[in-house]
Symmetry: C4
Subunit: 331 residues, 4 copies
């Protein structure tokens, strides 16, 4: 029983532990308490995590499929064209090795030399266009061409899958207001931010979680990162046709109760936001992350209405007003 070390021959004593109970109340979103210094930020503006990973395995880091799916269209198309060129250059070389004479063409003068004849034959084989005015005329060359045309079909199958994957990938285009605000809310104050669906397609069952991450000091002087989930006036809506202002009311139970701008800055505060929704077109779940740091929060400003009132019985929502705020005294 070698893997069981014998540092502790005694039995495992358990106990009813108050500390265990406390720890279970922790509202960590998954970053852990060990991030005990003031980093630049936890969540970047594009929703990625500000964490560096080392010693990742090669294929895990490369992650080819995900990269080809996530990269910009310009990059994707450049890679496709590059791969097409390289494949044809390589096969042109192979046909040259197999003997350029074995590619019979109706007019050898037309292609700027044998290499380019082989190159164009390769292109016509890879895409299966196969005009036939250049054709393989030996066993070896015919074999290479048979293999290349099969490769071409597989490559095209791959491209089909990638294009479909790129288009059908569930994405939301949620725009968050550039700043969050502290504004009066009913008879108290509230911490608020605003979101809109920037795209024309419908999002439904939209759900938001907000967590406040702050550095705190333990009695022994060591620092640790503490997380508090923030209650929202509404955290879920079935429809999301207009803008939505999310409000955390600062009642006595709020972790922000009695907080000053300096407190937020000193504790390296960051508001972490996770939004989940369902895209109506494909019934796909979409996720968006965002965060506001202490220096992206305005005190004593409220959001300006995004509705234009109603013209011709139709509500008009002006997406450009997302970030507009007005000064307002706090309660």
């Amino acid at each position: 029983m070698s893997p069981i070390t014998s540092t502790s021959p005694k039995n495992l004593r358990g106990a009813d532990s108050q500390l265990v109970h406390q720890e279970e109340q922790r509202q960590d979103l998954g970053f852990g308490t060990k991030l005990s210094e003031a980093y630049s930020r936890l969540i970047n503006k594009d929703g990625s995590f500000n964490i560096k990973r080392v010693n990742e395995a090669f294929w895990d880091r490369l992650n080819v499929y995900n990269r080809l799916i996530m990269m910009r269209w310009a990059s994707f198309l450049s890679w496709v064209i590059l791969a097409y060129l390289v494949a044809n250059l390589v096969f042109a070389g192979i046909y040259m090795l197999a003997g350029a004479d074995n590619l019979k063409s109706s007019n050898d003068q037309a292609f700027n030399g044998d290499f380019w004849k082989a190159f164009f034959f390769s292109a016509q084989t890879l895409t299966t266009v196969g005009y036939g005015h250049i054709a393989p005329n030996s066993f070896l060359t015919s074999s290479i061409a048979a293999f290349e045309s099969m490769l071409g079909l597989l490559a095209f199958a791959l491209a089909t899958g990638l294009l479909y994957g790129r288009f059908s990938r569930p994405t939301a285009h949620i725009r968050f207001s550039a700043k969050a605000v502290f504004a009066p809310y009913l008879d108290v104050n509230g911490w608020m931010f605003r979101v809109i669906n920037a795209r024309a397609n419908q999002l439904i069952d939209v759900e938001v979680e907000v967590s406040l991450s702050r550095l705190e000091t333990r009695p022994d002087g060591t620092k640790y990162r503490r997380y508090n989930s923030l209650n929202l006036e509404r955290h879920k809506v079935a429809f999301f046709p207009t803008n939505w202002t999310l409000v955390h009311p600062i009642t006595t139970e709020s972790p922000l109760h009695g907080c000053t701008p300096e407190d937020l800055a000193n504790s390296d505060a960051e508001f972490l936001i996770l939004l989940r929704a369902t895209d109506d077109t494909f019934s796909q779940t979409v996720h968006t992350r965002y965060s506001y740091r202490y220096d992206e929060v305005l005190w004593g400003r409220k959001f300006r209405a995004m509705f234009d009132g109603s013209q011709h019985g139709m509500v008009t929502l002006d997406l450009n007003k997302l970030d507009e705020t007005d000064e307002v005294p706090l309660n």
Copy 2:
């Protein structure tokens, strides 16, 4: 620390607020209380929202993929054919610039002139059919053709994805009764509407939410839109093989308790319906929205049964009877 404005140097005082608690009970589906006028309607008959968005970003408004997926088949096929024609016209022009002589054909007289020879060569290249009776006969023309055949493959890959996306998109074909009714229900009255699955495939785990949207007047005379979710006798069924009459019983707790036809009209009432189900074929979630305005509600009529009784031991459901009602005195 400039972004933190100093309009409020004081601390954020929180309070136990009764108003905050009240607001949390709000049953808004996501339209917000600001829609304070009598609009034509909130949800259109096709399930879209009756809201106009301005200043949407170009690509977000265009939303190419979604449009190509959602448009009617006739439009989709017209776009495909148009794109094919335009691509061939453009490439025919390019081949003409590269010199029509460089497209060697076995019979130049056959195609009504060089331009159409180039056009047909382009079509044969784009679709990779490549008969070869027209073939590229120079370095430049061969290069263009190699590029065009690759483009053709990509375009075809795209079409494959779009066709698959169009077919595999989760859709339900739920038909709602044209009118909702107020009818007797047990020893009280109920507000009812009826739905059927118009398609032959099975829907399971069907869930319905109904909300009543009305304009109300605040003590200060301003108007706001109020939302009440309506309790249903059943809001979920595991199977949906027949018709389903959804009933909101008007007990004393109902927001419709004591309501008259005039009340509904004066408050611009609209019943908002959200239906979620799972399509059994692909286990996809489908969503349908619908709404009844006050003038689409019948008072004192009940739905006629859609069953034909049983013939040969088999239940017969007549889909044509969905909208049929009979007069009935209310309780």
Copy 3:
């Protein structure tokens, strides 16, 4: 305000209704109480519903995509081949109309006459194989061929989507024991049936709902169908590697308490089963329906173990033993 009929000018009086409360406890799975006769059965052995729909709209009844996805492979491939033949016959006819002479071939004698030359040219165009030994030699014929090759690509795209849809469709291959049994269970009796995953892939998070459907007689002598959900000893397992015997313990709360075989027969009893699971390969949800009628339930028999004991430290599950039972006296 014409659509609001005036049969009831009075207000809608609501009341706290005991009947309404009772009705909300109804455990109908979605069939409704109106199915008040002894039909052959509600759920067929293949999981479909035994309900006939009339006046379904043409396209909804046809439901082309779903049919092509659900039909057997033999039928599917027959349809594909048939469509290919018909398309080529139609296009051969069109090429004949455009003039058979405009299809230039190297050897007109080879194809059994002009029609078959046109037919094979069509096949070579539709599949984009395009050998070129038959080639279009006029403007009109070239145009038709350009259109046909595009059609061919679209048809192929369609076939790709259909094949992928057929393969990737979430399906479970759950086998239910041929009979359910009443057997002793702990110190009471239980109603039991047994399921296995017939396929080698893993199912996880398997969840089962069972409902008992019976005809009952109202005090006024009319019949209606009543539904009771049956509590299960376990209704959910995270893993499903072996067989699973589902047990409804017949305690005093059970609707089967005090029930005799004759009671079940007289009330046209049917046990309705809905199973939901997640397929591990694609993380897809799968649903299976099944039912046992009163004459598919054995009294006083218990299931025989399906395990072979362990050989070489490995559990062996014999799928053939699914239906085996032994006689046992009931408690």
Copy 4:
């Protein structure tokens, strides 16, 4: 009413059973209590179940699509190439039977004999490259070629689906620490293991269930397998950017309370782990299973931190440190 056996003419008496209630508390994950011997293990290291199935139906055991999706890339590509070769050999044979003379080529000497001419013609037809320098020259040969090119398109469609299925299949690459540990936790001890996301893509809403499987002895001396779910300090995180140490605190309620290394070994203890998460790229749910047997648990060791502290304001996570532990005295 023949299927209802008459072994029990009496009514089904029910009873309020304490045993039934107890049984409902059972925390079996789905393996059942019958696995009453010390097997090698229940869950293999790759997440599959250590259970042998006999008498599985042929197609269910074969499970072609799943195998082609799950097999390694090298195997998959070998199968594709093999199928391509075999198909061409078969069709070459068929063309030979139909008469090699009916395949007209511009240079019959080029292909090492008629069989290979037929083989290359088949390859050019199956891939639809169709150069045309070999072409069918009889009705029969043209028919076979028309059929083969259609088959080629279908095969290609299949390959497209398989390639897309392989790439888009939801997979997580979770790495579990090689050993679990018993280590001090707050003022008690805890059983702990550690996981990381080995891949660069994001996982969200990660949820873990842990169950302890042990052999126990009934009062009558027979053995049965008992399952206890283990409470975790946290069982769910919204974000999973770093490592996550899962802790089961050994309080008095824990099934591990008072447990010794010998107890675990004697009871053939195995810790069964089920992890569910959502892949952010495609919003797909992914599942991972793992297990630790008693001899994969270290007593009195704790995990070493995987963070490198912060350099340049960025947290650095060293994936290589996953398995590193330090000796520590237990509480």
